[in-house]
């Protein structure tokens, strides 16, 4: 196992938010502090050139992890290691150098571009900010190049974002992300706000660009079908913890964790195969007050006493995937094939 092949490593990262009411209110109403554990100890690594997807429902912490990886939040615990360099320990200049090598694409195409800036300026911002090029002509040519690569026209750089549709704006975001020649892109639900046909265009584009530039993607999504199309490996998150991590094919054909099985079962049956479905039980609990032990136990058909008191650790299943579940460990779960 070549460690130099690992581009990003996330080690036991946790991130908490203090959502307590103001001190005075708390004292008067005699309430304790409210700490939201958005991410509670997540570890994974991404190899060069691969696409790792993180899936989960609302409140699972996947967006928070994306922001921790990009440096928008500092982790409350644990570390993010990019190409061997611990981001928290790097000097400011080292950090600036590292920032050239990764970028982020956001979910909302309407809020991710500054409405008062022209498209050309938006795309050139990483170039100008990092001082990669200083000559105006050179920069303009580079922006022309990028716009063509994402399927827009060079004339578009004089326009404002509101003159474009959602899908076109996402292309502009992608062009901006590529302008500093990064190796790593964090994509936070990049197609969730787009129509199906536009989504197909963007996903195809992202795959093409990955092939052409050897990019590595961390792809966050709640849409399992999209994830199955674009990723090599998938990590399933629930209430801030990683419950299963495996190759895409494996996880969709042989899901181990009960939550993964439930998620797959809940996907609408587009091909109308009339497949057998386990009924989905309950709802995601309030992340401010998560259940004890394994946070999934109130909804889990296989929960026993151990599950209510002890949080399971990540173990390797026999096919190389990782899963965090007592029932799997104790071999109480029958391995099912997803239809």
């Amino acid at each position: 196992m070549k460690t130099s092949n690992v581009l990003l490593e996330v080690r036991d990262v946790a991130r908490e938010f203090d959502v307590s009411r103001p001190w005075l209110n708390r004292v008067i109403e005699n309430q304790p502090k409210a700490i939201l554990k958005a991410v509670d100890g997540v570890s994974f690594s991404i190899n060069r050139g691969e696409t790792l997807a993180l899936v989960g429902e609302s409140g699972c912490g996947k967006s928070t992890i994306a922001r921790v990886v990009c440096g928008l939040y500092t982790p409350s615990r644990g570390s993010v290691i990019f190409d061997g360099v611990d981001m928290a320990k790097a000097s400011t200049s080292e950090q600036q150098q590292l920032r050239k090598r990764f970028q982020m694409i956001f979910q909302d195409p309407y809020a991710s571009l500054n409405p008062r800036w022209r498209v050309g300026k938006i795309i050139a911002e990483p170039i100008v900010s990092h001082g990669i090029m200083t000559d105006k002509e050179q920069i303009k040519k580079r922006v022309d190049e990028l716009l063509t690569q994402v399927g827009l026209s060079p004339q578009d750089q004089e326009k404002f974002p509101h003159e474009f549709s959602g899908g076109q704006r996402q292309r502009i975001s992608i062009a901006r992300a590529l302008s500093s020649n990064p190796e790593f892109l964090v994509c936070d639900e990049p197609t969730s706000a787009l129509d199906v046909s536009v989504q197909a265009q963007i996903l195809n584009l992202m795959k093409d660009l990955q092939r052409e530039f050897g990019l590595t993607y961390l792809f966050i999504s709640h849409n399992l079908a999209v994830v199955s199309h674009i990723s090599n490996r998938v990590g399933v998150m629930y209430l801030g913890r990683l419950v299963e991590m495996a190759d895409t094919k494996t996880i969709f054909h042989r899901p181990l964790h009960p939550y993964t099985q439930m998620l797959l079962s809940a996907i609408p049956d587009l091909k109308m195969t009339g497949r057998q479905r386990t009924p989905v039980a309950g709802e995601v609990p309030n992340p401010l007050n998560p259940p004890s032990g394994c946070t999934f136990h109130p909804r889990c058909p296989y929960a026993n006493d151990r599950c209510t008191s002890e949080a399971p650790k990540m173990i390797a299943a026999d096919d190389g995937s990782m899963v965090s579940c007592h029932a799997v460990e104790e071999r109480r779960i029958p391995i099912r094939l997803a239809a």
Binding site: G167, D195, S197, L270, M272
Partner: protein, 351 residues
């Protein structure tokens, strides 16, 4: 097969919804016709800007001015409802047509308990005593799966989670026992696992109460699970309509074909998703002839008719598609026309 068709519950004829703006008159829904039989679920699917939400809003009389119904008729049980005064429509809304909207947070009044909101709806439309109304409200909450309904009836909307709130909204929609429910993206704001629960619930309730649903959504998966028939909308027009299994497995209109190919499929692994180049035209720039023609890869098979004449819904296999490929009047060379073999069959497809 000439059995008389049962009277449809809802019939929309040549509906046109327009918006006068300072840049001109925009036609958001352009001459669509559809019908819903009693107890049937009709899906209306399309991407953003296709006009599906406006169709639902027009039917239930909630078009925001300056939008207005420019022409066409909407009939409920044979009676015209599009030309009623607001006062008369108020009696129908709730009693005969119920509504479920996308965002459960804003569909409920945060200042009133849900019990009060449900009983208010019941008392407005049905002639029962307040005690009876409260009993019915509790029964409804039980039906939609709210645990401890008799206690939770006095709770406020913010005390419910997203999925529970949507269940409350469904119970509100059903409170006055309407015959038709317009559901506009009822599951889009919910997590996938909750989505599945809500879809199952809707289907069950409507079967039990015999309520028809017009389900407006962009999610084909939800349609596949819930609807009996589906209408595909594009740029304010219906481009294909037919039984759900047919439209999904054998789409006839090139747009529907592209749409189905663009949806990533868990069961199949493809290198590239089908891509329809371009995007849906803006309302002030709708192409002449067939609205889809600039993006259509099969234009060559038909010729110039696509850019000059707008196609109506034509029989195409077991569905109907608004596409000149299926014209059987010899105007094109009918290269790939599966409709050729049943060109003489009487019009038995229930529309």
């Amino acid at each position: 097969m000439t059995t008389p068709l049962p009277l449809p519950l809802l019939e929309v004829r040549n509906l046109r919804v327009q918006f006068p703006t300072r840049r001109g008159l925009l036609t958001a829904v352009d001459d669509i016709s559809l019908s819903i039989a009693p107890g049937e679920v009709l899906g209306v699917v399309g991407e953003s800007g296709a006009g599906k939400s406006l169709t639902g809003a027009a039917i239930i009389g909630l078009l925001e001015p300056p939008g207005r119904i420019a022409s066409g008729e909407i009939l409920l049980n044979g009676r015209r409802i599009d030309n009623l005064s607001p006062e008369e429509f108020r009696k129908i809304r709730g009693r005969e047509i119920g509504a479920i909207f996308q965002d459960p947070l804003t569909s409920l009044n945060p200042l009133y308990t849900i019990g009060r909101q449900i009983t208010e709806t019941i008392l407005t439309h049905l002639d029962v005593s307040p005690a009876e109304a409260k009993k019915r409200a509790i029964d409804l909450l039980n039906e939609v799966g709210i645990p401890a309904a008799d206690k939770r009836i006095d709770h406020y909307p913010h005390q419910f989670s997203g999925g529970m709130r949507q269940r409350v909204v469904i119970s509100l929609a059903l409170a006055a026992q309407p015959k038709l429910i317009i559901a506009d993206e009822p599951t889009t704001a919910l997590d996938v696992s909750i989505q599945a629960q809500i879809i199952t619930l809707l289907k069950k309730l409507c079967r039990e109460h015999g309520t028809s649903i017009m389900l407006v959504t962009h999610d084909m998966g939800v349609i596949a699970e819930t609807a009996d028939r589906v209408a595909v909308m594009y740029a304010g027009r219906i481009v294909e309509i037919g039984p759900v299994a047919e439209v999904i497995h054998n789409p006839q209109h090139p747009y529907t074909v592209g749409l189905m190919g663009a949806i990533p499929d868990l069961t199949k692994e493809v290198e590239r998703l089908t891509q329809i180049d371009g995007s849906m035209p803006r309302l002030n720039a709708i192409p002449s002839g067939c609205a889809f023609n600039p993006r259509c890869t099969r234009k060559v098979e038909v010729g110039s008719r696509c850019t000059t004449e707008r196609p109506g819904l034509l029989p195409a296999g077991k569905t109907q598609a608004a596409c000149w490929l299926y014209a059987n009047d010899g105007a094109n060379d009918g290269a790939n026309n599966p409709a050729n073999h049943n060109v003489n069959a009487p019009q038995t497809v229930a529309v």
